[in-house]
């Protein structure tokens, strides 16, 4: 069976991208705003200029890091089952990350989300079978901003069984997030053996590494928690205006990231990921729904799969839209990205639910996107040609009578041969549709949001574990000036 596969580059062009990326690591090198990372690079033989903070990284050093970086790993759910396979051409989806706004159904204006929104979001994401992992998608406005990164993870751990895609907003909060994850896993070693979460770490384009990013990268490596590089050249703004040029920059940023990471702890899992974008030259915005954005994502994924024998695991921000409400443009942009990324074999696509340049979350969009994800996953399974004969037996059996509904061949095949959508996708006869209220897609999605949140069943977490998580969260919250955590609804 042929798996449909999208490749934009010839092997020769992939090699050219990689060659130029290696050249960039020598000239102009990368600028690293974190002493410990500069120390690691210098000790390993990179040419480091302390005054300018520029490290020129020789190829041999990078190649050694690539050798020790694993080609695949799993993320595990609460019960310790491997649920997400980062590697090969396997595709998975998680909601987009870190929305600082939420779009309520029917509202033209967004608002700042609070704890209750995050709770409902996790319940919903847990209930959507198409979504493979949950993400810390909602930044709660009802806790101090400086603790809002780890607070999201705390809420997820109380409500989610699925693996988690997350990240910090600061250097010091990694330790808190690690502490929370360890509480659930049982020990640091248990967490490293079966990682529940992957942490996004974002180099700053072009070729810059902030202190936060370096610290997180090093902390992830040393604790054995997977790190996901999120390199984000903006075409024509913070990176070359061409898809291929920005793919070179992406490659150089990721290679330097893998190197710092593997120098901190060889063998720790790391993902070749990103959130690059085209650049809207009218408005100065970063369109996640632009065709060139999606092409760049697929292109760098191809490079990541070729960067070493067996490739590195891949990730991209895909399945997003730049609209402010859920409308026709939302669907076309989200579906394009989710489908193209699936064809490119991107292991993890972060984006479902996300609007407005990755800043605003919509529960209704998450529900609609889950249908897109279902279709995209069906697509990459390709056309099954394993039956022998392909059609002769069933065709002759049915003959000219013309009713395949009666055939056992139909009953045996129809469920797996197409993705069967929920009622969010309208396939009713017109009168039925009308009688059901003549609802459009957002309205149908809204109904399903309410149904699924109501149907969510709380996790059976041990009461001691819940208490421990609460104790950890409360203790740290006090250091941020918050004496009492926001109340949670009944779990």
């Amino acid at each position: 069976m042929l798996r449909p596969k999208l490749k934009f580059l010839t092997d020769a062009t992939v090699d050219r991208v990689i060659e130029e990326a290696y050249s960039l690591l020598l000239d102009p090198g990368v600028r690293v705003h974190y002493d410990e990372a500069l120390d690691l690079l210098a000790e390993a033989g990179a040419d480091v200029d302390r005054a300018s903070r520029v490290a020129r990284i020789p190829r041999a050093l990078v190649e050694k890091a690539l050798e020790t970086a694993p080609s695949s790993f799993y993320l595990y759910d609460l019960d310790g089952n491997p649920k997400v396979h980062y590697g090969g051409d396997d595709v998975h989806y998680d909601p987009g990350s870190a929305a600082i706004e939420i779009a309520d159904y029917g509202a033209k204006e967004s608002r700042v989300p609070v704890t209750a929104d995050c709770e409902n979001y996790v319940r919903l994401a847990e209930m959507l079978p198409q979504i493979d992992a949950v993400a810390t998608s909602i930044v709660c406005g009802d806790v101090p901003q400086a603790m809002s990164d780890w607070y999201r993870l705390y809420l997820l751990l109380l409500y989610a069984r699925k693996p988690i895609v997350t990240g910090t907003f600061a250097i010091e909060t990694y330790a808190i997030m690690h502490e929370l994850l360890v509480a659930v896993a049982g020990s640091p070693a248990a967490l490293a053996a079966k990682p529940r979460a992957v942490f996004d770490v974002c180099p700053s384009p072009p070729l810059l590494w902030s202190d936060i990013t370096c610290a997180n990268l090093i902390d992830c490596a040393r604790t054995g928690v997977p790190a996901e590089l999120v390199s984000m050249p903006l075409m024509g703004a913070t990176g070359p205006a061409t898809v291929i040029g920005s793919a070179v920059q992406h490659c150089a940023e990721c290679l330097s990231g893998v190197t710092i990471h593997q120098l901190a702890k060889a063998g720790s899992p790391i993902v070749w990921g990103g959130s690059p974008a085209s650049f809207d030259m009218r408005t100065g915005t970063t369109p996640m729904g632009a065709m060139a954005t999606m092409m760049l994502d697929c292109t760098y994924a191809q490079v990541g799969k070729s960067i070493k024998p067996g490739g590195l695991p891949t990730h991209a921000y895909l399945g997003m839209s730049d609209t402010k409400i859920v409308d026709a443009q939302t669907g076309l942009e989200s579906a394009s990205g989710a489908i193209l990324g699936a064809l490119a074999g991107v292991n993890m696509m972060s984006g479902p639910g996300m609007l407005d340049f990755e800043s605003c979350f919509s529960l209704e969009k998450l529900v609609i996107d889950s249908e897109i994800v279902g279709m995209a996953k069906r697509l990459v399974k390709g056309v099954d040609d394993s039956e022998e004969p392909l059609a002769l037996t069933v065709m002759r059996e049915v003959g000219h009578a013309g009713n395949f509904l009666k055939s056992t061949h139909t009953r045996r095949n129809f469920r797996r041969e197409d993705y069967i959508p929920t009622g969010v996708i309208d396939r009713d006869f017109r009168q039925t549709w009308f009688d059901k209220g003549a609802l459009d897609a957002p309205a149908r999605a809204h109904r399903r949001v309410q149904e699924l949140i109501a149907a969510y069943e709380p996790l059976a977490l041990a009461p001691e574990l819940v208490r421990e998580l609460e104790t950890i969260a409360t203790r740290h919250a006090r250091t941020y000036g918050l004496d009492k955590l926001p109340g949670l609804s009944a779990r």
């Binding site: 600082i100 400086a146 809002s148 902030s210 703004a237 009218r282 800043s359």
Partner: protein, 215 residues
Amino acid sequence: MSEELFKRMAQSVIDGDVEAAGEVAQEALDLGQDPLEAINKGFSAGMDVVGELYSSGEYFLPDLILGGEAMKAALAVLEPALLATGQERKVLGTVVLGSVKGDIHEIGKALVGSMLAANGFKVFDLGIDIEAEQFVAKAREVNADIVALSALLTTTMLRQREVIEHLAEAGLRERVKVMVGGCPVTQAWADTIGAEGYAEDAAGAVTVARRLVAA
């Protein structure tokens, strides 16, 4: 001065041709032309055209930015000569701009700087990762009307408040207005920290800056 020379000056800005702008500016000086007239009737006129083309959708940000760069190249040649004549270019106001401490993001701030410069402000772009004290020192040195603070991250946004506090401690808060911007920044945040100006994009920043210097 010949109309033809003015036209070439304007055209260099319209084309975003940095090299040509510097050359034609030098040519004007060599011919003994008045630098102020060269700026006003030549290069600024070109900048006006660029602005109109951008507004009408024919020009895009790279055209606008390169137009601004051409203008800058011309000014680099003409301003020393202008100072020697004892004249001064009329500007709407002086802006000190930068990304706050801990923030290494360049592009949004650079866009705002270009747009302000293109619209008649004198802009001192301090760069990225700028300490509060550096903003204060520069504002004092150039007698700034506006200090503009960029922050892309929710974490670095908090530093905008620090700069405002430092300006107050230095006794500059009475005469220096503060503008804030960046992805996580909102009008509500600007109000919270007492910044007089906020806009969500570079074009909006020009409107806000105009309002602040008119006030």
